[in-house]
Symmetry: D2
Subunit: 338 residues, 4 copies
């Protein structure tokens, strides 16, 4: 941690900062420039996190040197984490293609989607039973009944199930029926929920919040891993910007950035980032080319009848062709669908 003092900071102010640093067991190195003094604080991450020197008199700003996360970092674990979900793998040489409708709407709908996903070579089935909706007047999901329909679809197709959990009180039902717990973008910093799914131990798919930095996403993952659950899949799904031609702006650079900083696998959601079905294929190809470990994409038997996210869902009838193109590019990158 470097503490940059204000121009004109007094010797007394400098000494006081040094004293605060030494109090927590860290050591201080003072460096006088022509205009400005900089104090380096050297110690371990936890000592330094507990050092609130920014409010001391004469301090201009504090620059962190160490990364604020540890367990999720490449420095902590150099090799790619590979996660096995009922025999399907993600990470390293294994690319996931997770597909299905936004929400489970009926047994027929989820089964139709599951069959299309399986037939096209998809590796997992997604579908929401609990739906976070901006409007209290919109469809909120089928709840536990939806979880049962997902389990039935797995029964028939063998595809592992990914579904969102929003409330810790639903954790038990979710654990009973599914294989990967999704934490949605709006809950990326719901720290209680993160700790709970960390303790639960099932693989977690953690979506980046629309205004979260990459660093904050990694800190959120640290909450989960800290509880002993290292099976976390990160998901880039677009960030909020001024551009209005897409619903969010897919931060494609986040894929290689995260892969450099962390050992965890990263998937991309081309459906929610763009909100437009015509962009799903180009964004999926971009994600694979940029090194993503997988895609999580919406497909629906009848998008024009979907209770949510119709405009961004691939029709199941077109999923085959889409998946073939994705799989072909995965092969080009020297990897294979998990």
């Amino acid at each position: 941690m470097m503490i940059v003092m204000q121009e004109g900071a007094t010797e007394e102010q400098i000494a006081s900062v040094v004293a605060r640093i030494e109090e927590v067991g860290a050591s201080a190195h003072v460096s006088h420039g022509q205009l400005v003094t900089v104090i380096g604080a050297i110690g371990d991450r936890e000592q330094l996190t507990a050092l609130p020197v920014e409010a001391c008199a004469g301090v201009d700003r504090v620059v962190a040197i160490l990364k604020p996360y540890k367990l999720v970092s490449r420095e902590f674990h150099a090799a790619d984490t590979v996660i096995d979900v009922r025999g399907r793998k993600i990470g390293g040489e294994h690319v996931a293609l997770i597909a299905g409708p936004c929400s489970v709407e009926s047994r027929e709908q989820i089964l139709a989607a599951a069959r299309a996903v399986q037939a096209a070579g998809g590796t997992m089935l997604r579908g929401g039973a609990f739906k976070p909706r901006t409007s209290p007047y919109a469809f909120q999901g089928l709840g536990v009944e939806g979880l049962r329909m997902l389990a039935a679809a797995r029964e028939e197709t063998g595809l592992p199930i990914v579904t969102e959990l929003m409330d810790p009180r639903d954790l038990e039902s979710v654990l009973e029926h599914v294989d990967v717990i999704q934490i949605g973008a709006r809950n990326m910093q719901n720290f209680q929920l993160l700790s709970e799914v960390g303790k639960a131990g099932l693989p977690v798919l953690l979506k980046r919040g629309p205004s979260a930095t990459v660093e904050e996403l990694l800190m959120a993952a640290e909450y989960i891993v800290k509880e002993g659950n290292r099976r976390v899949i990160l998901c880039e799904r677009g960030i909020r910007t001024f551009e209005t031609s897409t619903r969010n702006t897919l931060d494609i650079a986040a894929v290689p950035v995260i892969k450099q900083l962390s050992h965890l696998p990263v998937v991309v959601d081309p459906s929610h980032s763009a909100g437009r079905v015509d962009l799903v294929l180009p964004l999926s190809l971009a994600a694979i080319a940029a090194g993503a470990d997988g895609i999580i994409v919406e497909t629906h038997p009848y998008p024009e009848l979907a209770l949510c996210d119709g405009p961004q869902s691939l029709p199941c009838a077109a999923f085959d062709e889409y998946a073939a193109r994705v799989a072909d590019l995965v092969t080009w990158t020297g990897r294979s669908l998990g």
Copy 2:
């Protein structure tokens, strides 16, 4: 709702959209331009919300005409909502000055802060017992023990207490000890939590998420009011932008915008928006001048020792002078501290 068709949409596609509109009991008016056809769908809010025409063939985009919220709108309730919290008022002619430390750290600390707030004319005491922290390694608050210290401070000073709730499982303890439940920015779209505090009935201070639009803030408030609890105070606390000289960018225009759209009171948090103590006074004055119904501000007996948010906390020793200046501007606007 206006449905703008693509250039070159066929008569069949237009007819199919019209049929979808009529199916839900709304009526459709077709208007042919030189290049583009627009279909107006006329019906009630709920009918139209359930109309997923965006995914229909030939549709370019859908433009909402009605606002997506109702109970929180000025149209629904024209007069300013005035909320009474243990005799202190906010809304209409009553301006609140809510102050206190970021976190409750000890009995001595919260009592010292409470006395300073009361002496200076503050109207409520804020302090966190449950703290959402980006890092799992940072101080997470004293929990229920902190709630008891807040209640003790109320006992001594008479100031109503505002504190944050993050987990529905802590609701009961919070209800027992405090007067206003704060929903933090990260939980603005934690819809389960919103419904729970809606049912609980205590006044709620709802903070705008750092990437939430004003409309989304109002939708979140609608979740609370829909459960029968109209005592909601909205809080502008800065949005996330590219500017780095402040932690967030205070969206001062949101104050008059919200007051035009909604009858609910709006307060401004100058501490979290800027993250810098030197900006607290100018931003507080700006907020009052722009018409805010109150300020929620951090003050700490010893900011340089604070376990969190020291750099943005006013020292209690300076709070008196700060509060006097704010109160004087409140008077200038023709209102008074509640």
Copy 3:
């Protein structure tokens, strides 16, 4: 154009808006909803652009239906525009690989770069003679002397030259020495400059401003095409967001979005968008996979000595391998380097 009236707008206000619409020769269709009246104005683009009804009493907002640009749109010209620059092509089946240093620094440097680009199969040479720099104290480019060095590099390698123009007073020198005029991101809305390069007739590479929407980029291109110059290449180079792990956020979705809206070719600049050399390859591959018509990338013989943009420049020694990977993916997409 749809004019949405406020709830409670009077019949007189509605009649007054209708009158304004009819005054400019457009026709008005009034549609009364339960709460809100909407007036459709039907006429041509120029009539409607000249219609300032937004300030009329009782108007809530105006929703444009027609796109505000014409000549650059797909509707105006359905086929991909293919631009020929001294025999190298871009657009349609032809992908450009434009490479070179940020700035021309010396005859040796630009020749070394040009040879590396040519040897690796690059299709054009980039290099700045006039440099826009945030700081008045930074290197501002070699000016006309730099243009001569670029021309010498073309002489030796045959590569067409792309260089930036910032001041209309330098247009003549630029026309004399180069093949494609680049308009930098900071000048995307320098409308005088756009008109001048429109009149000059040389192909133009127009960079998207860091806070410009796709629509504004297309409007800026319209300024050029309107002067009779249809040879415009659009360039996505990252937008400004809150994320700090990259210098800008590459808006990869802009590539397919623009290709749907416009017939003009689109290239991606992976160097400026990320500002980090380690991201150049993954972002280049993402761009090609998403359908970009080319890449404009920085390469320098000795990045660690570069006078600007060293951190984002590929060393020329590594350019060969980079270009081979890009070319291979271009082939995978069914196109070829121009």
Copy 4:
């Protein structure tokens, strides 16, 4: 300047960075932490700006310690700069109220506006003769004829004139007719134009670009001051964010931030930031309360007939009441209209 090395940087890489620092005459201080080495480079601003170490092997990132501007900084000149424009003052105890229409449309229009501004106590007249317009099909201003009309309005009312310059080739005409040259937001980083107006010597009103940081605004001002012209007025006019209820987001905190960093006066434009006439008064009051040295606001005799910016223009008939409220708050702050 602090150079943070990567974890695992070699001694050779560290030595190489030290050598680069010493080459430019600066000195290097190496500080070894447990995981990371940090090198402090101490020297003057220009030496350090010319130090491109970011591209050296083993470097993780470079943290600037010194501010990148000098002449505009408070450290360089502690007292507030007060600018005198034909006897009207801005800065220090003097607050400016600059008002008038977006564009000069006719002699009658600008005279009507000028009279209203003067009668209400406004201190300068604004009006555009050269208009930057996003669309090439929109009204582009009356040019030199408009400048003459502005001069005539000054003749009659005595109000100094503020007008925008976009093209260096129009500088001479502008110098002949007006008193303050406005550089618009889109040209904030048109460095040629900045240098030209720096040389011309007339006071300059420099608008912040919609995606420019405060630091970049100050760097742009440095370009002007560096040419010997210290009479620069900075203008906050809103930045581009995701929020759509206002055209831009007024960054009110920028006012006190800039006043702390720089001695130059700062004004706020409530018209362009919000784009809505109903927000003009609350935002103007917020600006004055936050410490702005002035307001630049649009007023038009007949907003509903305005050729541009009608929706955000105060009617001249209401300007009197508006100005009185602003003046009263100026008095409350202990200052007076210049």
